[in-house]
Protein backbone atom coordinates (compact mmCIF):
# COMPACT_ATOMS: atom_id res chain seq x y z
CA UNK A 1 0.00 0.00 0.00
CA UNK A 2 1.37 3.36 -0.92
CA UNK A 3 1.62 6.51 1.03
CA UNK A 4 1.69 9.85 -0.55
CA UNK A 5 0.84 11.93 2.48
CA UNK A 6 3.59 13.43 4.51
CA UNK A 7 4.17 12.18 8.00
CA UNK A 8 7.76 12.49 8.99
CA UNK A 9 8.73 9.85 11.53
CA UNK A 10 10.81 10.67 14.60
CA UNK A 11 12.40 8.65 17.38
CA UNK A 12 9.99 9.73 20.10
CA UNK A 13 6.88 8.58 18.23
CA UNK A 14 4.90 5.57 19.35
CA UNK A 15 5.28 2.59 17.04
CA UNK A 16 1.60 1.66 17.28
CA UNK A 17 0.63 5.13 16.07
CA UNK A 18 2.83 4.76 13.04
CA UNK A 19 1.27 1.44 12.15
CA UNK A 20 -2.24 2.81 12.42
CA UNK A 21 -1.19 5.57 10.09
CA UNK A 22 0.61 3.35 7.61
CA UNK A 23 0.06 -0.39 8.07
CA UNK A 24 2.66 -1.31 5.47
CA UNK A 25 5.19 -0.44 8.16
CA UNK A 26 4.35 -3.84 9.62
CA UNK A 27 6.69 -5.22 7.03
CA UNK A 28 9.45 -3.09 8.47
CA UNK A 29 8.80 -4.53 11.94
CA UNK A 30 8.76 -8.00 10.49
CA UNK A 31 12.03 -7.52 8.64
CA UNK A 32 13.71 -6.14 11.75
CA UNK A 33 12.30 -9.08 13.73
CA UNK A 34 10.33 -6.84 16.07
CA UNK A 35 7.02 -7.69 17.73
CA UNK A 36 3.87 -6.24 16.23
CA UNK A 37 2.50 -5.56 19.68
CA UNK A 38 4.70 -2.84 21.06
CA UNK A 39 2.11 -1.35 23.38
CA UNK A 40 2.78 2.26 24.24
CA UNK A 41 6.47 2.15 23.51
CA UNK A 42 8.28 4.56 21.24
CA UNK A 43 10.69 3.80 18.44
CA UNK A 44 13.61 4.82 20.59
CA UNK A 45 12.60 2.51 23.43
CA UNK A 46 11.93 -0.51 21.25
CA UNK A 47 15.12 -0.10 19.24
CA UNK A 48 17.17 0.29 22.36
CA UNK A 49 15.63 -2.79 23.92
CA UNK A 50 16.17 -4.91 20.83
CA UNK A 51 19.61 -3.47 20.08
CA UNK A 52 18.55 -2.12 16.74
CA UNK A 53 19.89 1.08 15.25
CA UNK A 54 17.32 3.83 15.79
CA UNK A 55 18.77 5.88 12.94
CA UNK A 56 18.30 3.00 10.53
CA UNK A 57 14.78 2.29 11.76
CA UNK A 58 13.78 5.90 11.27
CA UNK A 59 15.33 6.18 7.83
CA UNK A 60 13.62 3.08 6.54
CA UNK A 61 10.32 3.98 8.16
CA UNK A 62 10.45 7.36 6.48
CA UNK A 63 11.16 5.71 3.16
CA UNK A 64 7.94 3.76 3.63
CA UNK A 65 6.22 7.10 4.16
CA UNK A 66 7.76 8.56 1.03
CA UNK A 67 10.73 10.49 2.42
CA UNK A 68 14.10 9.84 0.92
CA UNK A 69 17.24 10.19 3.05
CA UNK A 70 18.45 13.77 2.92
CA UNK A 71 22.09 12.90 3.44
CA UNK A 72 22.13 14.64 6.79
CA UNK A 73 21.58 11.42 8.69
CA UNK A 74 24.59 10.15 10.54
CA UNK A 75 25.18 6.47 10.03
CA UNK A 76 28.13 4.50 11.24
CA UNK A 77 29.54 1.05 10.74
CA UNK A 78 27.70 0.00 13.89
CA UNK A 79 24.50 0.24 11.84
CA UNK A 80 25.57 -2.47 9.41
CA UNK A 81 24.05 -5.46 11.26
CA UNK A 82 20.63 -3.78 11.46
CA UNK A 83 20.67 -2.93 7.78
CA UNK A 84 21.71 -6.40 6.73
CA UNK A 85 19.13 -7.98 9.00
CA UNK A 86 16.47 -5.92 7.31
CA UNK A 87 17.69 -6.66 3.80
CA UNK A 88 18.06 -10.39 4.37
CA UNK A 89 14.59 -10.74 5.78
CA UNK A 90 13.25 -8.67 2.92
CA UNK A 91 14.85 -11.12 0.51
CA UNK A 92 13.06 -13.90 2.22
CA UNK A 93 9.80 -12.00 1.90
CA UNK A 94 10.29 -11.48 -1.84
CA UNK A 95 11.38 -14.98 -2.59
CA UNK A 96 8.97 -16.94 -0.45
CA UNK A 97 5.98 -14.69 -0.26
CA UNK A 98 5.62 -11.83 -2.69
CA UNK A 99 6.84 -13.36 -5.93
CA UNK A 100 4.98 -16.67 -5.42
CA UNK A 101 1.85 -14.67 -4.63
CA UNK A 102 2.08 -12.81 -7.93
CA UNK A 103 2.91 -16.03 -9.76
CA UNK A 104 -0.27 -17.61 -8.43
CA UNK A 105 -2.27 -14.61 -9.50
CA UNK A 106 -0.89 -14.88 -13.02
CA UNK A 107 -2.03 -18.50 -13.09
CA UNK A 108 -5.49 -17.40 -12.00
CA UNK A 109 -5.40 -14.78 -14.72
CA UNK A 110 -4.64 -17.43 -17.30
CA UNK A 111 -7.64 -19.44 -16.16
CA UNK A 112 -9.85 -16.42 -16.88
CA UNK A 113 -8.07 -15.32 -20.02
CA UNK A 114 -6.30 -18.19 -21.75
CA UNK A 115 -4.65 -16.12 -24.42
CA UNK A 116 -1.14 -16.70 -25.73
CA UNK A 117 -0.17 -13.27 -24.39
CA UNK A 118 -1.01 -14.24 -20.85
CA UNK A 119 0.86 -17.48 -21.30
CA UNK A 120 3.87 -15.43 -22.32
CA UNK A 121 3.36 -13.12 -19.38
CA UNK A 122 3.73 -16.20 -17.19
CA UNK A 123 6.93 -17.13 -18.96
CA UNK A 124 8.21 -13.56 -18.74
CA UNK A 125 7.52 -13.55 -15.03
CA UNK A 126 9.26 -16.89 -14.44
CA UNK A 127 12.39 -15.77 -16.21
CA UNK A 128 12.28 -12.48 -14.39
CA UNK A 129 11.84 -14.20 -11.05
CA UNK A 130 14.83 -16.38 -11.83
CA UNK A 131 16.95 -13.30 -12.43
CA UNK A 132 15.74 -11.74 -9.20
CA UNK A 133 16.64 -14.88 -7.28
CA UNK A 134 20.11 -14.81 -8.77
CA UNK A 135 20.56 -11.23 -7.66
CA UNK A 136 19.29 -12.00 -4.16
CA UNK A 137 21.62 -14.98 -3.96
CA UNK A 138 24.50 -12.78 -5.06
CA UNK A 139 23.75 -10.38 -2.24
CA UNK A 140 23.30 -13.12 0.31
CA UNK A 141 26.39 -15.04 -0.70
CA UNK A 142 28.82 -12.38 -1.86
CA UNK A 143 27.85 -8.86 -0.87
CA UNK A 144 26.57 -9.36 2.68
CA UNK A 145 29.40 -11.65 3.83
CA UNK A 146 31.82 -9.12 2.40
CA UNK A 147 30.16 -6.30 4.34
CA UNK A 148 30.22 -8.40 7.51
CA UNK A 149 33.87 -9.10 7.08
CA UNK A 150 34.58 -5.42 6.77
CA UNK A 151 32.39 -4.74 9.78
CA UNK A 152 34.26 -7.20 11.94
CA UNK A 153 37.42 -5.80 10.39
CA UNK A 154 38.88 -9.25 10.77
CA UNK A 155 40.77 -8.82 7.57
CA UNK A 156 40.65 -7.05 4.28
CA UNK A 157 38.63 -9.31 2.03
CA UNK A 158 40.42 -10.98 -0.83
CA UNK A 159 40.15 -9.54 -4.28
CA UNK A 160 37.91 -12.40 -5.43
CA UNK A 161 35.49 -11.92 -2.57
CA UNK A 162 34.78 -8.36 -3.57
CA UNK A 163 31.46 -7.16 -4.72
CA UNK A 164 31.04 -4.32 -7.15
CA UNK A 165 28.72 -1.46 -6.37
CA UNK A 166 28.25 -0.75 -10.07
CA UNK A 167 27.05 -4.25 -10.67
CA UNK A 168 24.67 -3.72 -7.80
CA UNK A 169 23.17 -0.68 -9.39
CA UNK A 170 22.72 -2.35 -12.80
CA UNK A 171 20.95 -5.31 -11.25
CA UNK A 172 18.58 -3.00 -9.44
CA UNK A 173 17.58 -0.93 -12.41
CA UNK A 174 17.03 -4.07 -14.45
CA UNK A 175 14.81 -5.59 -11.80
CA UNK A 176 12.73 -2.44 -11.57
CA UNK A 177 12.38 -1.89 -15.29
CA UNK A 178 11.01 -5.38 -15.95
CA UNK A 179 8.33 -4.83 -13.35
CA UNK A 180 7.36 -1.67 -15.17
CA UNK A 181 7.17 -3.68 -18.41
CA UNK A 182 4.70 -6.06 -16.82
CA UNK A 183 2.50 -3.26 -15.57
CA UNK A 184 2.57 -1.52 -18.93
CA UNK A 185 1.52 -4.72 -20.69
CA UNK A 186 -1.33 -5.45 -18.30
CA UNK A 187 -2.57 -1.88 -18.23
CA UNK A 188 -2.19 -0.79 -21.81
CA UNK A 189 -1.68 -3.60 -24.22
CA UNK A 190 -3.21 -6.93 -23.32
CA UNK A 191 -6.96 -6.91 -23.90
CA UNK A 192 -9.11 -7.57 -20.86
CA UNK A 193 -11.31 -10.67 -21.10
CA UNK A 194 -13.43 -11.22 -18.06
CA UNK A 195 -10.31 -10.96 -15.88
CA UNK A 196 -10.70 -7.55 -14.30
CA UNK A 197 -10.69 -8.59 -10.67
CA UNK A 198 -7.60 -10.76 -10.84
CA UNK A 199 -5.87 -8.29 -13.09
CA UNK A 200 -6.49 -5.56 -10.53
CA UNK A 201 -4.96 -7.76 -7.85
CA UNK A 202 -1.90 -8.36 -9.95
CA UNK A 203 -1.37 -4.72 -10.80
CA UNK A 204 -1.71 -3.66 -7.18
CA UNK A 205 0.62 -6.45 -6.12
CA UNK A 206 3.16 -5.45 -8.74
CA UNK A 207 2.97 -1.85 -7.58
CA UNK A 208 3.44 -2.89 -3.96
CA UNK A 209 6.44 -4.90 -4.94
CA UNK A 210 7.82 -2.07 -7.03
CA UNK A 211 7.48 0.34 -4.11
CA UNK A 212 9.14 -2.11 -1.80
CA UNK A 213 12.00 -2.86 -4.16
CA UNK A 214 12.54 0.84 -4.54
CA UNK A 215 12.88 1.19 -0.77
CA UNK A 216 15.20 -1.80 -0.78
CA UNK A 217 17.58 -0.42 -3.37
CA UNK A 218 17.52 3.04 -1.79
CA UNK A 219 18.63 1.52 1.51
CA UNK A 220 21.44 -0.30 -0.22
CA UNK A 221 22.58 2.50 -2.44
CA UNK A 222 22.19 5.53 -0.21
CA UNK A 223 22.72 4.09 3.27
CA UNK A 224 24.63 0.84 3.18
CA UNK A 225 27.11 1.41 0.38
CA UNK A 226 28.31 4.82 1.64
CA UNK A 227 29.04 3.26 5.07
CA UNK A 228 30.84 0.40 3.40
CA UNK A 229 32.95 2.68 1.20
CA UNK A 230 34.04 4.61 4.27
CA UNK A 231 35.07 1.41 5.99
CA UNK A 232 36.98 0.32 2.92
CA UNK A 233 38.90 3.57 2.93
CA UNK A 234 39.75 3.19 6.59
CA UNK A 235 41.11 -0.29 6.13
CA UNK A 236 43.25 0.61 3.15
Amino acid sequence: MYRTEKYYIKAEMKISDLIFDNPSLLLLLENLELDFTTGERTIEQVCHEKKISTAVFISIANLFNGFYPTGEEQFSSADIPTIIKYLKNAHNYYENEKYPEIRNCIEELYKKNSSPEIQLVGKFFDEYFKEVKEHLAYEDKVAFPYFYKLYNSASTPQENEKYSSNEYHDHHSDIESKLTDLKELLLKHITVKDDRIIRRKIIISLSDLEHDLNIHSTIEETILIPIVSQLEKKIV
Binding site: G71, K123, T180, T191
Partner: protein
Protein backbone atom coordinates in the same frame (compact mmCIF):
# COMPACT_ATOMS: atom_id res chain seq x y z
CA UNK B 1 6.49 6.14 -15.52
CA UNK B 2 10.14 7.03 -15.07
CA UNK B 3 9.91 9.57 -17.83
CA UNK B 4 7.60 11.72 -15.76
CA UNK B 5 9.66 11.63 -12.57
CA UNK B 6 11.38 14.94 -11.99
CA UNK B 7 14.39 15.23 -9.73
CA UNK B 8 14.72 18.58 -8.05
CA UNK B 9 17.64 19.71 -5.93
CA UNK B 10 17.33 22.70 -3.60
CA UNK B 11 20.36 24.55 -2.31
CA UNK B 12 19.00 27.13 0.10
CA UNK B 13 20.30 27.76 3.62
CA UNK B 14 16.97 28.84 5.09
CA UNK B 15 15.01 25.84 6.21
CA UNK B 16 11.74 27.75 6.26
CA UNK B 17 12.15 28.70 2.64
CA UNK B 18 13.33 25.26 1.60
CA UNK B 19 10.37 23.57 3.26
CA UNK B 20 7.91 26.07 1.84
CA UNK B 21 9.30 25.65 -1.62
CA UNK B 22 9.26 21.85 -1.33
CA UNK B 23 5.65 22.00 -0.32
CA UNK B 24 4.71 24.17 -3.27
CA UNK B 25 6.62 21.89 -5.61
CA UNK B 26 4.90 18.78 -4.25
CA UNK B 27 1.49 20.43 -4.61
CA UNK B 28 2.01 21.01 -8.31
CA UNK B 29 1.08 17.35 -8.59
CA UNK B 30 4.26 16.45 -10.35
CA UNK B 31 5.83 13.14 -9.61
CA UNK B 32 9.07 14.48 -8.23
CA UNK B 33 11.84 13.67 -5.85
CA UNK B 34 13.24 16.60 -3.91
CA UNK B 35 16.78 16.59 -2.62
CA UNK B 36 17.99 19.14 -0.13
CA UNK B 37 21.65 19.92 -0.38
CA UNK B 38 24.10 22.11 1.47
CA UNK B 39 26.75 23.03 -1.03
CA UNK B 40 27.51 23.15 -4.72
CA UNK B 41 29.92 20.24 -4.72
CA UNK B 42 27.22 17.90 -3.49
CA UNK B 43 25.76 18.00 -6.96
CA UNK B 44 28.54 15.77 -8.12
CA UNK B 45 28.69 13.37 -5.25
CA UNK B 46 25.49 12.75 -3.49
CA UNK B 47 22.79 12.33 -6.03
CA UNK B 48 24.34 9.39 -7.75
CA UNK B 49 22.19 7.39 -10.04
CA UNK B 50 19.65 10.07 -10.67
CA UNK B 51 19.86 12.98 -13.01
CA UNK B 52 18.85 16.34 -11.59
CA UNK B 53 16.28 18.03 -13.81
CA UNK B 54 15.92 21.25 -11.87
CA UNK B 55 18.41 22.82 -9.49
CA UNK B 56 17.07 25.65 -7.38
CA UNK B 57 19.86 27.67 -5.84
CA UNK B 58 20.15 30.71 -3.63
CA UNK B 59 22.52 33.00 -5.62
CA UNK B 60 24.54 33.63 -2.46
CA UNK B 61 25.76 30.07 -2.78
CA UNK B 62 27.56 30.76 -6.01
CA UNK B 63 28.73 34.28 -5.23
CA UNK B 64 32.39 33.51 -4.83
CA UNK B 65 32.30 30.27 -6.73
CA UNK B 66 31.53 31.37 -10.24
CA UNK B 67 34.20 29.20 -11.74
CA UNK B 68 33.04 26.14 -9.88
CA UNK B 69 29.47 26.90 -10.88
CA UNK B 70 30.21 27.19 -14.56
CA UNK B 71 32.15 23.92 -14.51
CA UNK B 72 29.21 22.31 -12.79
CA UNK B 73 26.82 23.63 -15.42
CA UNK B 74 29.01 22.14 -18.10
CA UNK B 75 29.17 18.78 -16.42
CA UNK B 76 25.38 18.68 -16.00
CA UNK B 77 24.10 20.23 -19.22
CA UNK B 78 20.58 18.82 -18.95
CA UNK B 79 19.81 20.47 -15.66
CA UNK B 80 17.75 23.64 -15.51
CA UNK B 81 19.72 25.97 -13.25
CA UNK B 82 17.31 28.19 -11.40
CA UNK B 83 18.10 31.08 -9.08
CA UNK B 84 15.90 31.66 -6.05
CA UNK B 85 15.95 35.38 -5.40
CA UNK B 86 14.75 37.21 -2.32
CA UNK B 87 17.23 40.02 -1.90
CA UNK B 88 19.12 42.25 -4.26
CA UNK B 89 21.73 40.57 -6.41
CA UNK B 90 23.96 41.86 -9.13
CA UNK B 91 22.59 41.21 -12.61
CA UNK B 92 25.80 39.54 -13.73
CA UNK B 93 25.40 37.03 -10.96
CA UNK B 94 21.79 36.35 -11.86
CA UNK B 95 22.77 35.99 -15.50
CA UNK B 96 24.53 32.76 -14.53
CA UNK B 97 21.16 31.08 -14.15
CA UNK B 98 18.88 29.74 -16.85
CA UNK B 99 15.83 30.87 -14.97
CA UNK B 100 14.91 32.99 -11.94
CA UNK B 101 12.25 32.38 -9.32
CA UNK B 102 11.35 35.35 -7.15
CA UNK B 103 10.24 34.96 -3.58
CA UNK B 104 7.11 36.94 -4.50
CA UNK B 105 6.21 34.62 -7.39
CA UNK B 106 2.88 32.86 -7.07
CA UNK B 107 2.83 29.11 -6.50
CA UNK B 108 1.17 28.79 -9.92
CA UNK B 109 4.12 30.32 -11.70
CA UNK B 110 6.43 27.85 -10.01
CA UNK B 111 4.09 25.12 -11.13
CA UNK B 112 4.32 26.42 -14.68
CA UNK B 113 8.07 26.20 -14.54
CA UNK B 114 7.81 22.51 -13.76
CA UNK B 115 5.20 21.81 -16.35
CA UNK B 116 7.31 23.50 -18.97
CA UNK B 117 10.16 21.19 -18.18
CA UNK B 118 7.89 18.22 -18.32
CA UNK B 119 6.45 19.21 -21.65
CA UNK B 120 9.82 19.96 -23.13
CA UNK B 121 10.73 16.48 -22.06
CA UNK B 122 7.65 14.97 -23.63
CA UNK B 123 8.15 16.78 -26.90
CA UNK B 124 11.53 15.31 -27.37
CA UNK B 125 10.23 11.92 -26.37
CA UNK B 126 6.86 11.35 -27.93
CA UNK B 127 5.35 14.66 -28.88
CA UNK B 128 1.67 14.78 -28.15
CA UNK B 129 0.77 12.43 -30.96
CA UNK B 130 -0.66 9.00 -30.46
CA UNK B 131 2.06 6.64 -29.51
CA UNK B 132 2.11 4.74 -32.75
CA UNK B 133 5.18 3.04 -33.99
CA UNK B 134 6.42 4.09 -37.40
CA UNK B 135 6.74 1.50 -40.16
CA UNK B 136 10.48 1.46 -39.75
CA UNK B 137 10.18 0.98 -36.01
CA UNK B 138 7.84 -1.94 -36.60
CA UNK B 139 10.41 -3.55 -38.88
CA UNK B 140 13.08 -3.10 -36.22
CA UNK B 141 10.73 -4.45 -33.56
CA UNK B 142 10.00 -7.59 -35.57
CA UNK B 143 13.68 -8.39 -35.93
CA UNK B 144 14.40 -7.43 -32.37
CA UNK B 145 11.98 -9.95 -30.95
CA UNK B 146 13.45 -12.63 -33.16
CA UNK B 147 16.54 -12.13 -31.07
CA UNK B 148 18.71 -10.37 -33.63
CA UNK B 149 21.50 -8.13 -32.37
CA UNK B 150 21.68 -4.43 -33.22
CA UNK B 151 24.34 -5.14 -35.78
CA UNK B 152 22.33 -7.90 -37.45
CA UNK B 153 19.27 -5.68 -37.58
CA UNK B 154 21.35 -2.88 -39.11
CA UNK B 155 22.73 -5.22 -41.75
CA UNK B 156 19.32 -6.56 -42.65
CA UNK B 157 17.70 -3.16 -42.98
CA UNK B 158 20.75 -1.46 -44.40
CA UNK B 159 21.00 1.11 -41.64
CA UNK B 160 23.74 1.96 -39.18
CA UNK B 161 23.92 0.59 -35.65
CA UNK B 162 23.28 4.08 -34.32
CA UNK B 163 20.04 4.28 -36.25
CA UNK B 164 19.01 0.90 -34.88
CA UNK B 165 19.75 2.07 -31.35
CA UNK B 166 17.77 5.23 -31.84
CA UNK B 167 14.81 3.24 -33.23
CA UNK B 168 14.99 0.94 -30.23
CA UNK B 169 14.99 3.90 -27.90
CA UNK B 170 11.90 5.30 -29.58
CA UNK B 171 10.16 1.96 -29.47
CA UNK B 172 10.76 1.69 -25.73
CA UNK B 173 9.65 5.24 -25.13
CA UNK B 174 6.47 4.88 -27.15
CA UNK B 175 5.47 1.52 -25.72
CA UNK B 176 6.84 2.03 -22.22
CA UNK B 177 8.48 -1.39 -22.47
CA UNK B 178 12.19 -2.02 -22.39
CA UNK B 179 12.87 -5.74 -22.30
CA UNK B 180 12.86 -7.98 -25.33
CA UNK B 181 10.46 -10.43 -23.72
CA UNK B 182 8.10 -7.60 -22.86
CA UNK B 183 8.23 -6.24 -26.40
CA UNK B 184 7.39 -9.68 -27.76
CA UNK B 185 4.21 -9.72 -25.74
CA UNK B 186 3.48 -6.19 -26.88
CA UNK B 187 3.91 -7.19 -30.52
CA UNK B 188 1.60 -10.16 -30.15
CA UNK B 189 -1.15 -8.28 -28.37
CA UNK B 190 -0.99 -5.52 -30.96
CA UNK B 191 -1.02 -8.09 -33.74
CA UNK B 192 2.30 -6.96 -35.14
CA UNK B 193 3.40 -10.57 -35.17
CA UNK B 194 1.49 -13.81 -34.85
CA UNK B 195 2.16 -15.99 -31.88
CA UNK B 196 3.06 -18.78 -34.34
CA UNK B 197 5.79 -16.61 -35.85
CA UNK B 198 7.24 -16.16 -32.45
CA UNK B 199 7.17 -19.81 -31.54
CA UNK B 200 8.77 -21.00 -34.75
Amino acid sequence: MSKSLINIAILEPSQIITEGLSNILLKTGTYSKIFKIDSLNEFNTKLFGSQIDIAIINPNQIQNKLKEFSLLKKSLPNTLWTGLVYTFFDQTLLAQFDKIINITDSPESIGELIHKIKNADYHSVTGNEIEQLSEREIEVLKLLIKGLSNKEIGDKLNISIHTVISHRKNISQKTGIKSQAGLTIYAISNKIVQIEDYLT
